[in-house]
């Protein structure tokens, strides 16, 4: 990998059933990820994906690009909700660019979108080369 390399965009479908499975596996049973009424009661547009679900998709993309390289740092802000409809799916798209390769560490800048809207703020990862 070299600075400036653009990595192959990864796309992932997200359904309500995925959120149920993720809640079970992660232990995060916040009802805003399951229950429309609760989500709306706290001002959300509907049931939203766990921020950590979306971040896990970003981490999946990093693992795909780097063939499972060891992750040293991973971070993002959750700037826009991924609203998941009761039926059907939404698509989360993860793009990436190599920012730097230094001292055995590769820094990646990511772009994570849903319906053309950025959903994570400044998502980035640093992996061992």
């Amino acid at each position: 990998m070299n600075p400036g390399d653009v990595l192959e965009t990864q796309t992932y479908a997200v359904t309500r059933a995925d959120l149920v499975r993720y809640a079970e596996a992660s232990g995060d049973h916040n009802p805003i990820h399951q229950d429309e009424t609760v989500a709306r009661s706290v001002g959300l547009p509907g049931v939203i994906a766990h921020g950590m679900f979306t971040m896990a998709l970003a981490a999946r993309a990093v693992a795909t690009w780097t063939d499972g390289a060891r992750v040293v740092e991973l971070g993002c802000k959750f700037t826009h909700p991924v609203v998941v409809p009761v039926d059907g799916e939404v698509t989360v798209t993860v793009g990436g660019t190599v920012k730097s390769v230094e001292a055995g560490l590769v820094a990646l800048a990511l772009e994570v979108t849903c319906d053309g809207q950025k959903v994570l703020g400044m998502p980035k990862a640093v992996v061992r080369a």
Partner: protein, 137 residues
Amino acid sequence: MPIDQSLVGRSFPPTPPREVTEDHVRAFAEATGGRYDGGPAPATYPIVLAFGAMNAFLEAEQVDLFRIVHGEQKFSYNRPVLPGDVLSATLTVATLRQIGGADIIGTTSEVTDVMGAHVCITSATLVHQSIGGGADA
């Protein structure tokens, strides 16, 4: 009710040690559509430990989980998590601000193994809507 400012700097008790099993790592990986063929857990797996610590913190402070929205999360890893690890997380409240009726809570959780060795540290910003409305993420 806003969260008490005196919490800043306070550490909560370590979460009960939890064994990382291959089955659970697989369940976590598959829950986000990934595959798990053994070896290190997915990079966001330590959230399982950090979330346990956060839940204990929210319970101790009588904060409703459904009023919490995630603002930011960062991980810094000393090593990957592996099946067989027995891990615990210790949460510290790092910062606390009030903006427009919301508490912005900055936490750090240190994940350690059974020997007390540092595995990773993760920081989270939690947005607490004490009176409902206004959350957007």
